[in-house]
């Protein structure tokens, strides 16, 4: 995953601007939930915190705006193409957890993640056997320690 932080002014997003916008949006959202259709007496504390957060976010945004003239602003670029496979695997794991079963899902996700982000080719037989072995041992340890020893129950689904 090749996310970089650099001082190059023209590439990626300005880090300070990005942070300010995020902080402002989050505090605005928080303020909305604190003020919209709520009892003023019960929501007194969230309202005070929301006002303070919005004020601080505004100060931060103002500071970011003033600093945007400076040339050594840090920028951020995210390699979405490298990140996407991991996100898809994570999404599939979470979505199929209860349907397929935790241990099967965990094993398949482990295999998928190490294959996608490993240096060697996905279908390299030697590497595949190695990954299967490591994944199998990891899942067996997890199963033995938590299911058998500590009686922690996870979703079983179709398989296990």
């Amino acid at each position: 995953m090749n996310q970089n932080t650099s001082n190059h002014p023209s590439k990626g997003w300005n880090r300070e601007w990005g942070a300010s916008v995020c902080a402002l949006l989050m505090s605005a959202l928080f303020a909305f939930f604190a003020f919209y259709d709520t009892d003023p007496e019960v929501y007194q504390f969230p309202r005070i915190i929301a006002i303070v957060l919005v004020l601080l976010a505004l100060i931060q945004s103002l500071s970011a705006f003033r600093n945007s003239r400076l040339t050594d602003q840090k920028t951020i670029s995210i390699d979405w193409m490298a990140l996407l496979p991991g996100l898809i695997v994570g999404f599939l794991f979470v979505m199929s957890l209860e349907v397929v079963g935790f241990y099967t899902c965990a094993f398949l996700s482990f295999l998928a993640l190490v294959s996608l982000y490993g240096k060697r080719r996905i279908l390299d037989p030697k590497a595949l056997v190695y990954k299967l072995m490591i994944g199998g041992i990891f899942i067996l340890i997890l199963y033995g320690m938590f299911w058998k020893l500590l009686y922690v129950r996870t979703p079983t689904g179709w398989f296990f």
Binding site: Q3, T5, R15, E16, G18, A19, C22, Q44, F45, P46, I48, I59, S63, R66, N67, R69, L70, T71, D72, I76, I78, G86, L87, G90, F93, V94, L97, E98, F102, A106, S109, F110, L113, V114, L116, Y117, G118, I134, F138, L142, F146, V152, R153, T154, P155
Partner: protein, 190 residues
């Protein structure tokens, strides 16, 4: 550890997690911890002392060999951490929604960390937020029955000292940042 155990102010994210653990077990840091729950507290403190001695022994023996963990490739670590995090989250309440929340927060925090947001203040906020709210509501009720809420919170030496320190800390951080930026701008211009 001293501010955490006496004033319930965690100085680090690790201390905040420890505070969360104490609160889950019904132990509220403060004077009660050393009187009402002295049994648990002293066991806890003594275990820290024993841990220091053990750390010395294990450190001397294992430090030569434990470096191999650094050789584990990042993608293997990421896969293991993701699965363990999902497992740990699910096992607390056997709740699937908890896994969804953990994944969403993890993803959100990944992007937030790219913009310089740190997890430490968030952890502190989550743990200290309910404590602050409870005490604020308590203070509001007491204040309303006396000279008024505002006067109750802004009078007294301790209150004024803490307010001054907070305002001073924010003002100083704004001033120092402005100064740094002025210097940078001057360097860029000249």
């Amino acid at each position: 550890m001293v501010p955490l155990l006496t004033l319930s102010i965690p100085g680090s994210p690790t201390a905040a997690v420890l505070l969360g653990g104490l609160l889950i077990h019904g132990l509220f840091p403060g004077p009660d911890l050393f009187t009402v729950h002295a049994e648990v507290t002293w066991t806890f403190i003594n275990s820290l002392l024993v841990a220091q001695v053990l750390m010395l022994g294990f450190g001397l023996i294992l430090s030569q060999h434990s470096g191999w963990i650094m050789k584990v490739p990042g993608h293997y670590m990421a896969a293991v951490i993701f699965i363990l995090a999902s497992f740990g989250t699910y096992s607390i309440q056997s709740s699937y929604s908890d896994v969804l929340i953990m994944t969403s927060l993890g993803l959100m925090m990944y992007f937030a960390s790219k913009f310089g947001f740190s997890a430490a203040p968030l952890v502190l906020g989550i743990i200290l937020g309910p404590i602050a709210e409870d005490n604020f509501m308590q203070g509001t009720l007491i204040g309303a029955s006396r000279d008024g809420v505002f006067a109750y919170f802004t009078s007294g030496l301790i209150n004024l000292t803490l307010i001054t320190l907070c305002v001073g800390s924010i003002a100083y951080s704004i001033y120092s940042e402005a100064k740094t930026n002025r210097n940078k701008a001057a360097q860029a211009a000249g």
